[in-house]
């Protein structure tokens, strides 16, 4: 039940893009076509889940025992940057087709604040799923990370679909490009507000 609450909350109620504003730059940057949006979402999903696992363990078994929590920011960003590099090298070797599909998006993910954001959130924020406020354990942190990145993918692909339609319409000149996209996102965020209070 608790896992269910985490999943619904992370995907819909506190959608990472539309309610928490993390990872907006790539969201606006690569959402012109559904195919690129899908590729980016896949890559983000993969990296967020993996990075959360590694940073959670590092925090738990390296930083906390030695009282080095203040190094979280530096340690996490280094871990994420090297992780992205390793993933890139490994993928190239074992699955060239997946590498082809995710290839160009992987280097961009280091500076995607959604990855660092989720990694920091799961080790610092207290959650209230199931009545009492508590920190997430490893299993819950992984479910949270996975559900959050699924929410990222859903919002991204939905928005790419809307944006493909926008491209074919006559829009007043000052609105062209980003402004009309932002106004569209605003409408989407308004729709997602309808989920609030569900969990």
């Amino acid at each position: 039940m608790e896992y269910f609450a985490i999943i619904i909350s992370a995907i819909f109620v506190n959608n990472i893009l539309l309610a928490q504003f993390l990872g907006i730059c790539p969201f606006l940057g690569v959402s012109n076509k559904i195919s690129t949006a899908t590729g980016m979402s896949g890559a983000v999903c993969f990296v967020i889940t993996l990075a959360t696992l590694v940073t959670y363990l590092i925090n738990q078994y390296l930083l906390v025992p030695f009282g080095l929590e203040f190094l979280q920011t530096i340690a996490f960003i280094l871990v994420i940057a090297s992780l992205v590099q390793i993933v890139e090298i490994v993928l190239k070797k074992i699955s060239p087709s997946l590498y082809q599909a995710l290839g160009i998006f992987l280097p961009l993910i280091t500076t995607n604040c959604a990855v660092l954001g989720v990694a920091i959130t799961v080790v610092t924020k207290e959650f209230t799923f199931g009545g009492t406020a508590h920190m997430l354990n490893l299993g819950q942190a992984m479910v949270y990370a996975l559900a959050t990145s699924v929410g990222y993918g859903i919002a991204m692909i939905l928005f790419a679909g809307l944006r493909e339609h926008l491209a074919g319409n006559e829009v007043p000149k000052p609105f062209r490009g980003l402004p009309i996209a932002l106004i569209t996102v605003s409408m989407m965020a308004m729709a997602f507000l309808g989920f609030s209070g569900m969990v």
């Binding site: 606006l28 610092t124 605003s186």
Partner: protein, 194 residues
């Protein structure tokens, strides 16, 4: 002197990080629920931007080209950690409100962007001024967005309430952030961009 001055002024309109370069959208949208939050976030970014620009302009000649991005990220992350400790000590209120978005300055594209585009090929003074200009431009944009959202959302400016009753709640919440930024960009495109 004119050249030094224009380094600062460029950050406001010509190189405005929010409306022209469209960088650092996450803190722009998330922390502008009120004017004071926007201002604080802008100043926090300004702090990191100026210091990292200075450090990187000094380090750039001795850093091997192959590893320059990781080195810059570590430099930026160090200053962000300094900022976190300073804010925890002197402005704990702001540190709590801005929360996650303080450590996330590390991945703010503006900071790394200025390091790559300016600080690594210019002198210390010019880089500091560039950081100051872009940082002030960012602070200004965030404060303006914050003022508008605070007026519409809660009928006040910098906490001074002049419209009685509840505001339009949506402007304090997520949709309002996107909407205000979208319309401000429209106005910027129409009147200020040449």
């Amino acid at each position: 002197m004119g050249k030094k001055m224009s380094l600062i002024l460029d950050g406001f309109v010509k190189n405005n990080p929010t409306f022209v370069l469209v960088l650092g959208m996450c803190p722009t949208l998330a922390t502008t629920t009120s004017a004071i939050n926007g201002l604080e976030m802008g100043l926090a970014t300004l702090f990191v931007l100026v210091l990292s620009n200075i450090a990187i302009s000094l380090l750039a000649p001795i850093v091997p080209d192959k590893v320059h991005i990781p080195v810059y990220i570590v430099v930026i992350a160090t200053f962000v950690t300094v900022l976190q400790l300073v804010m925890q000590a002197y402005t704990p209120g702001a540190y709590t409100t801005l929360g996650l978005f303080i450590p996330l300055i590390v991945v703010n594209c503006i900071v790394l962007g200025r390091a790559e585009a300016f600080a690594n090929k210019n002198g210390v003074l010019d880089s500091a001024l560039d950081g100051l200009g872009v940082g002030l431009g960012f602070t200004l944009s965030l404060t303006v967005i914050g003022i508008i959202r605070e007026i519409l959302g809660s009928g006040s400016v910098f906490g001074w309430k002049f419209i009685p009753g509840d505001g339009i709640l949506a402007f304090v919440m997520a949709p309002g952030a996107f909407l205000v930024l979208g319309y401000l960009m429209v106005l910027f495109n129409k009147y200020l961009k040449k």
